[in-house]
Amino acid sequence: MSEGEMAIIKPEMMKSYIWLETADGSIQQVEQEVAMFCPMICQEVIQKGVGSSKNYAISLPQRVNPAMLSLIFDYCRFHQVPGRSNKERKIYDEKFIRMDTKRLCELTSAADSLQLKPLVDLTSRALARIIEGKTPEEIREIFHLPDDLTEEEKLEPLKNTMDDPRIRLLNRLYAKKRKELKEREKLKNVEVEEHVDERSVDDLLSFINGRDHKVVKTSKSKKKNKKRKEQKNGTSMGTCEASEKDSKHNHPSKSRSAEVVDNTSSSLGDVSNLLSMEDDIFTPKTEFEDGYIDDEIDPALKEMLDREVEDFARRLNSSWVLSIGQERQPVHFSINGNGATRRLTGPAAGHK
């Protein structure tokens, strides 16, 4: 009826329009098929009969400002056309969400209040992609978040996952190392004793420094051997019994399952992923057993060791929360992480 009225008033207009009023008072009109793409507007029109004229404009929720509204209608205008292929829609969507983060958030909010779920999902996906893999600092910068948690608070909710047993393990290692160091010292002292009596202090120092080179080198090569062994043991992991059967029918189980599971969940894919799952290849930089380091007797090295253990402890405590880019590098719980090798590289030449 109201549309008939409109047809009389504006006979040259073939389209019907819906009138909308945003929270700031401005009123605009939009083609009906575009506006009706939004469930909230659709509901208002059908249930309350509003929107047909300027005086009876639909009032939009506060979170929708005119700029966002026009963006949303661009989206609706494209997608409400039935003939488009999925690929076309996807390409449009990817271009559409290229905007600065602030607008993206506003758009999400506006789309949500208009109950336009496909757009909410699209923008949420985009926001998730922005957040993914970034450090907390980076995220705070992007979204202008206040850094208003204390250091303690940052650790607090997750502290109960920070293990006393881990600290205990750490202490145990530390104690063990100290003990071994002491024992070695005793042994070496017995050997060196005779020399000490004969040489001067300078000679001693240069002797010790000279020995360091060799000592460090041998211990490094020992470490390498150990790593190789560990790797061998570590990779005899989860079975691939399915692979036996896979070879029987020359089809990867994944493609099989993909064929049956059209509409259902990816559970089959997951199962076959599991079947073919093997250990990730870990870099051989992590070590818990550092017995080989005990070849050094140099107190300077011992100090380094202490520092490393402390570093390790600190890293453990903060690894949960602040392990950011560090995770990208596989080195994490290593005592002999990058720091250690760097330091060891000082007196000894020819290391990485």
Partner: protein, 416 residues
């Protein structure tokens, strides 16, 4: 409205959760340190997905295991509200009492979707699992399944996926019948199973293992079936019975749209006394994929022909000949093609793919049959297992001279 510089924290929780569910659980939890408002935003997420990527990698397996256990326990303790989906997929965890505790926690928090893909081990599903009566999806891998006697089934379960589960066969049958809403069923890596499936709402069936006998007793709504049927080396043959297995298995699935069979499936279907015609026509069947068909065995070819001719809307056909010769046979002269088979039409068949063709008479006759009955045939893809170039050439020449009913039909010969 005050314009705060922070433009994301005040979005409604539903949007925040929409965003957080798209992140890995690790990234989602890390948002708790962003700001005071974000501290517990993640804690009401209803879907939790864990794997060993949640913790830092290490060459020491025990370390990863310990860390992962701590991580999951920590998350569960800090979590607020119901948990609808819990997925744990890792070969690092096998049998740990922690898993029992997590399941107990989940059973008290309204779990609906549970996926446990553990490493090989002796994990035994605890009894609290059978109290999760709101379950709509259950997926178990590498565990022992032994429900208490009073267990009646999961009344809301729609999807069941059991892989390499230690379970008594009658338990599976009663489990399936005890889940009346079941729509998706996948049983893989089972040995010597005689199974009778009664599931009135079942739509997707996936079977993989050494099944001795499968009986689809009550599955009228099945839309897609995929069976990989293996046979134990000791067994010399399937159990012979007078019932025609093809009818027994596929007699009650009028809504079938897709049928896929591997290894000995076609052989299994061919067993029994052939009644002549099939009792049902598969009006919805659009795709048939039967692999490892022994073309020397006339019975197997007959199964293939029966299925193809009783599917008027068949669009895509993929067949592979069997390289496995468990029962070496003399090729039986197949004159069935001379009978009334050429009266049939395959009015919608568009694509045919035949692989591992070795050029035996039955294979060629089958292709000839397809060419002569498919007016809209578009592509025939053939790949051969022959190594002798001359033999291959002979085969190609033979195939090319067959008359084609469809003017646009073309051959595509693939090199293996």
């Amino acid at each position: 409205m005050v314009e705060s510089p922070d433009f994301i924290s005040d979005l409604p929780q539903s949007i925040i959760e929409n965003i957080l569910t798209r992140l890995s659980i690790r990234d989602a939890i890390r948002t708790s340190v962003l700001s005071s408002k974000w501290r517990y935003k993640w804690s009401t997420l209803t879907d939790l997905v864990f794997d060993e990527k949640c913790v830092s990698p290490s060459t020491d397996r025990c370390v990863v295991e310990t860390n992962l256990v701590r991580f999951v326990t920590g998350v569960l303790l800090l979590h607020q509200g119901p948990i609808h989906k819990f997925q744990l997929s890792t070969s690092f965890l096998q049998c740990r009492p922690d898993i029992d505790q997590w399941l107990l926690f989940l059973s008290r928090n309204g779990i609906k979707e549970l996926v446990l893909e553990l490493g090989e081990g002796e994990f035994r599903a605890p009894s609290c699992l059978f109290n999760c009566l709101k379950l709509t999806r259950l997926e178990l891998c590498h565990c022992e399944f032994d429900p208490p006697r009073c267990f009646k089934g999961f009344s809301s379960l729609k999807s069941l996926n059991l892989h390499q589960i230690l379970v008594a066969p009658e338990v599976i049958e009663s489990l399936i019948s005890g889940c009346p809403l079941l729509e998706f069923l996948s049983l893989s890596y089972f040995d010597s199973l005689v199974l009778s499936i009664s599931a009135p709402n079942l739509m997707y069936l996936y079977l993989d293992g050494e099944f001795k006998d499968i009986f689809l007793e009550n599955t009228p709504k099945l839309v897609a079936i995929s069976v990989s049927m293996y046979m134990h080396e000791d067994v010399t043959d399937f159990e012979q019975s007078s019932d025609y297995n093809l009818v027994k298995f596929l007699g009650g699935v009028p809504l079938l749209e897709k049928l896929v069979g591997y290894i000995y499936f076609t052989k299994y279907l061919s067993i029994g006394d052939d009644p002549g015609r099939l009792p049902i026509t598969y009006i919805h069947l659009k795709t048939i994929e039967l692999y490892q068909v022994s073309f020397e065995d006339a019975n197997e070819v007959l199964v293939l022909l029966r299925l193809v001719t009783h599917s008027p809307n068949l669009k895509e056909l993929k067949v592979s000949a069997s390289p496995i010769q468990l029962f070496p046979l003399e090729e039986e002269g197949f004159d069935l093609f001379e009978r009334d088979y050429f009266d049939y039409q395959l009015p919608r068949l568009e694509t045919v793919k035949m692989t591992d063709v070795s050029g035996i008479r039955n294979e060629l006759e089958f292709i000839r049959f397809l060419l002569g009955t498919s007016p809209v045939l578009d592509t025939v893809i053939v790949s051969s297992s022959l190594t002798d170039k001359d033999a291959k050439m002979d085969m190609v020449v033979e195939l090319l001279r067959y008359p084609r009913v469809s003017p646009q039909a073309q051959f595509l010969f693939l090199q293996d």
